[in-house]
């Protein structure tokens, strides 16, 4: 295993999938995870779209992979500094500990948009306005309630919060929110069949296998209402419900309604780790995501020798895309190690 040492920053799906594939190929892999547990954003999810497979199952699978004998996992390890010296990559954590390897994979992933920046939507101000992440936490508890602890009669989802929005500096589409809203609205209807669910959108982007089918099912089987219009403003009513306004664009008329919960489908942004480390090593691209050498052909490589990228640190990706990308990254790393 001489000269086959790899450091992976980030123990989410991208990091673990790459680590496992490198380990299978006789590399000595060090995974550095800043949190106490591996799994990254998977930890915040109950069921996965479009299959409704339990996220726990996926997590368990990652857990097993991470236990491969060629993988050394360090949790609670926050890497603050990266540098390339004597043909080796060095990663230094907050306590000063340094890890060294022949190649380095950045799989630092994404974070969700901080909805407080969209003040007109009242997140952090009105308790009836929540994010899709908080709704997922309610699914974990198995109980969907209003801030007063009541069963919500009416729930609205709003897509593109923090995505496709010049005002917050994110022009791009986060790609996963549309299908996530479909998934979450079905989950609500399964728990609370009498609750009315409205989903506000500009475009429904069902660009994945079985996505369109799921969208159709949400309409036919679960009576989810889709309204084409972006919510412009949310405000609390005197009984602490949420008044929302939009244009019913297909009807060309303004629309308002009061709901018990407004769920903001928060978009994905580069995680702080992605932005900070990307900047340090000169691969920070647009919106703080890490920039690969060439989208068409060298998407796991960077301008830096021995530095590789995998997963949603590059751009918003779904879980299957992330995992496929990680396997591709592992392959690129093996090529690199073999050549050097």
């Amino acid at each position: 295993m001489e000269n086959r040492k790899v450091i992976i920053i980030g123990g989410g799906p991208a990091g673990i999938e790459a680590a496992y594939n490198l380990a299978l190929n006789n590399c000595s892999v060090t995974v550095l995870e800043k949190e106490a547990h591996i799994g990254g954003n998977i930890n915040n999810i109950v069921k996965l779209f479009p299959s409704f497979v339990s996220a726990d199952e996926i997590h368990e699978n990652f857990s097993q992979k991470s236990q491969h004998e060629n993988i050394k996992l360090y949790t609670n390890t926050d890497i603050t500094q990266l540098f390339f010296e004597n043909d080796l990559w060095h990663a230094k954590d907050a306590s000063g500990e340094t890890y060294t390897a022949d190649a380095l994979l950045l799989s630092t992933g994404f974070k969700t948009f901080d909805a407080r920046f969209k003040e007109e939507l009242g997140y952090g101000i009105y308790s009836g306005v929540i994010t899709s992440v908080e709704l997922e936490a309610m699914f974990k508890e198995g109980k969907i309630t209003t801030p007063e602890g009541k069963i919500p009669q009416r729930i609205a989802f709003l897509n593109c919060v923090g995505s496709r929005d010049e005002k917050v500096g994110n022009h791009y589409c986060s790609r996963v929110c549309c299908i996530n809203a479909v998934k979450q609205s079905i989950s609500i209807k399964e728990l609370l069949p009498d609750t009315e669910v409205f989903c506000f959108y500009m475009d429904i982007r069902m660009a994945g296998q079985f996505y369109e089918e799921l969208y159709r099912k949400s309409q036919e089987k679960h009576n989810v209402n889709y309204i084409r219009g972006r919510i412009s403003e949310a405000a609390a009513t005197i009984d602490n419900r949420v008044q929302i306004k939009c244009e019913d664009t297909l009807n060309q008329l303004p629309m308002k309604m009061t709901v018990d919960l407004l769920v903001l489908m928060v978009g994905t942004e580069a995680s702080d780790g992605t932005t900070n480390l990307g900047e340090q090593v000169g691969v920070k691209g647009e919106y703080g995501f890490a920039k690969s050498l060439n989208l068409h052909g060298a998407d796991n490589l960077t301008i830096k020798k021995g530095l590789f990228l995998a997963g949603s640190c590059k751009r918003p990706l779904t879980l299957p895309e992330t995992m496929a990308d990680s396997r591709a990254a592992a392959f690129e790393i093996l090529n690199y190690l073999n050549q050097n």
Binding site: E120, C160, R164, D165, E166, K167, M202, R228, G229, R230, I231, S232, E233, K245, C246, E247, D248, T249, Q252, L253, P254, M255
Partner: protein, 237 residues
Amino acid sequence: MSKYIDKIHKDVRFIEGLKACMNCGVCTAICPAAEFYNFDPRQICNILLEKDEEKIEELLKTDTIWYCGQCMSCKARCPRGNVPALLIAVLRMLSQETGLFVESEKGRQQYAIKKTIGENIINTGYCVHVDHVNPKLHPEQGPIWKWYTENAEEVADRLGANYNKVGPGALRKIPNESIDEIKKIFQITGGLAFFDKIDSFSEDKAKELHFNSVKELLNDEYFYHVFIHNSNNHNKQ
């Protein structure tokens, strides 16, 4: 040859006000005009993006561009940084320059605004002054307003004003030299010629509609017509 598009595209307010629109409707959602008029600022953006001369001409002739209240609520919200209200301002100017404003009920009202606000500015240096808000034309101002206009100097000066007198203070008479400079500015920048355009197109329209249009406001039938007439046909699609 482009009749309207080149002119529109040269206006700084157009350059600032329209990038590309994704039809999300956040502008219409909170537009005070969209709620009470058959008005959809989102579609104004679409028509301008289409660059269709005929559609633009149609727009310049209709009530649509006169519904906006210029509150700029749309500016604060657009996720693409567009400002439908600025586009409306550009279209309104073009509609008046080309005389198409007299083709619509709401457009014809520009004559009344020019006769009141427009002339107030060049003659007195105020857009609005106590003496301009005639209770007959403003019944909604109520009995206290009427009382105030009847006792304007006594009431206003008790509040520290300098009602129609020289020297600083609220409601003072603006010095002639300042009025002359204002007029000169209007003349040089084309403001007076613009007023003349509004007048002359309106006078032609008044003739066509058989109204007498005279210089004295209170005897001007056409003024009253455009000021009061409402077909009540403005909130249906």
